[in-house]
Symmetry: C2
Subunit: 372 residues, 2 copies
């Protein structure tokens, strides 16, 4: 390792955005297995076209390293390039296999199902430099963990699951606070497996998502008061959101497989944004894969709510009662309430969670009021 | 069919108990597929020893036709025997392949995990005539359905599932009323599949189980008030209980596969009796089968309860709170209450269900008070 570090001083180097750094890190720690580097044109093509790598393994979204034209032209095959952060530090080494120019509109159309740059994922795709640098990577260091106590590599979560004797584990992806609707889905899934990995994404999200630090505090207070410690594990997922809806749901599932999960919750409009995807697109997409192909079992859920006649949580699938009995708030509405210091009903948000969110959002200031 | 009926007048015939008739019927309608007749010695041996038929397909419990010694001695291979009910009617024809004498103590030890005749399943096994008549059967008629509206063959449930557009269906076996604990488990499972088959066993049970007619009424009132009609189907399972615990859980799963289910709920001490089986034996036994071998996915559940702190239903796996917050009643206790006209808390039994059970048990009379 020492040798690589010192050599890297003499290498050509390029600076990665935080998003690219998180991809580098996920490749390096095995979160993106079977990927061992940034994709070349053959994988890009196969992935964009039919959600498989050139080798035939399932993979839904290109993981590529954008590079500016003038830099791309200076590089040659076999050369080793130092991958630096914006802080100047070297985080990894890439051995150049290929430089190629992907058709970004085609990628947008296939992966995001839209070429509109109003879509935040598409906008970011279009904003990237036009070339991609491909080749295997060697991860030299990780960024300091935002939440060190909850920082686990795939090897570490697997070890933890084994230590706890969990043979079946359901993974739950979230970039939002966990209100009772999501608690219910998590617990419904947990009832039939050994453990739950609550795995919030803490990388880059939309500006209007609730900041990770506030969310992490709210998850901890929720678990403390409402989950048996022996059945749930909280760990951070250091990725950026792509908002690619159905395809990202598959990515989220594959990554959780790599973290050791056997099951993965896919809700309505999973990883969606705006009205770009139908409510069940992110569930239906899984039928494109052969049984067992993904190595993880998706569990599909509906939106849920508290129903007074049911005297508990339920969904359209399990509750026959009229809407007047159901406690339903939109995400926008509840964030507005929390920002104004109004605690939602305990049927919607656990009071302990509401307190944390209200305090966090108050600190953040009303000027940054999250909106849909 | 006409021809077989008239011919059967001249055949040797034997009289079947209601239990044997229900086995005949289940073989004939495909509920016991791949069985096409009563088992011979090779299948008996393979099933008793390691839960597979001689052909290698999974099967946990011998399905054999007991016959008295003097009758066994009169029969010869290839002969066709009329299978009559106690009413004298011919229900089916068996073509004799073999007469054999199973080692019933060995069967008891392997299948029931006990040779004690205090075990109701073992007691019935020991009470049977010592020989078995084996061979393919032809079902001529079914007994009049006890509950015609809910009488569906496997072909009919599959057709109904297809009509409803259900691709995934969880089967729920019960021989008891559905209190909220079981409603919660059913709905937890239903949240992640398309439909629920509530499939109560209405064949022979222990004398102290609640009569099927009362149970059927209670299921209907429960579904009417608390389940979306589009997501649940009530049908009867015309089998007898064997109380073979773990092995019977596998049988229950295989049979529900034949009825078209993709998933099957296995609770704690499923199909158990007394203290003969450990609470998780009926779940652990499924690890003896290769993934996909059974053709149906077992879903394992804990006992559940209403918890005031959770403000809803939960189990040890999902609720961290102290027992003082949990509403738990033993089956014995709740039946005692119902028999005395005392309605259990609505946190334990839906009031509409309690009313039906109280009325039914009152009619039945206190003298037949069910006990554990």
């Amino acid at each position: 390792m020492e040798e690589i570090f010192s050599q890297s001083e003499n290498l050509n180097s390029m600076v990665l955005t935080p998003w690219m750094l998180s991809d580098l890190e996920l490749i390096g720690i095995g979160g993106f297995a079977p990927l061992t580097g940034f994709m070349g044109s053959a994988d890009w093509q196969a992935v964009v076209e039919d959600m498989h790598l050139a080798t035939g393994e399932p993979w839904p979204i290109p993981i590529t390293l954008p590079v500016a034209k003038q830099q791309a032209l200076q590089l040659h095959e076999g050369e080793r390039v130092a991958l630096r952060g914006e802080d100047g530090q070297v985080y990894g080494i890439l051995t150049v296999q290929e430089v190629f120019q992907p058709d970004l509109r085609y990628e947008a159309a296939r992966v995001y199902r839209t070429t509109e740059d109003k879509h935040p994922g598409v906008a970011r795709l279009y904003a990237r430099p036009p070339y991609c640098l491909a080749g295997p990577i060697h991860l030299l260091r990780q960024r300091p963990a935002l939440f060190p106590k909850f920082n686990f590599t795939p090897a570490q979560t697997k070890e933890e699951f084994a230590n706890r004797g969990w043979r079946t584990v359901v993974g739950f992806q979230t970039r939002n606070p966990v209100h009772r609707a999501h608690e219910y889905i998590q617990k419904s899934a947990l009832e039939t497996v050994d453990g739950l990995l609550l795995h919030p994404l803490v990388g880059e999200t939309k500006l209007d998502d609730i900041p990770a630090a506030i969310r992490m505090e709210s998850y901890q207070v929720l678990l403390k008061h409402y989950y048996p410690a022996s059945r749930v594990m909280l760990a951070t997922y250091p990725a950026a959101m792509r908002y690619a809806g159905p395809r990202e749901a598959v990515l989220h599932a594959l990554v959780r497989r790599n973290y050791g999960c056997t099951h993965f919750v896919v809700g309505r409009d999973h990883a969606g944004v705006g009205n770009y995807y139908g409510p069940y697109d992110a569930q239906d997409i899984f039928s494109n894969f052969a049984p067992g192909e993904l190595g993880i079992q998706p569990m599909f859920y509906e939106n849920s709510f508290y129903c007074e006649r049911c005297d508990g949580m339920a969904s359209e699938k399990t509750c026959p009662h009229a809407s007047q009995y159901r406690h339903i708030l939109s995400g926008t509405k509840v964030r507005e309430m929390l920002s104004q210091g109004i605690r939602p009903s305990s049927k919607f948000t656990r009071p302990e969670v509401a307190d944390v969110l209200m305090a966090g959002l108050a600190e953040q200031g009303v000027s940054e009021l999250p909106t849909k």
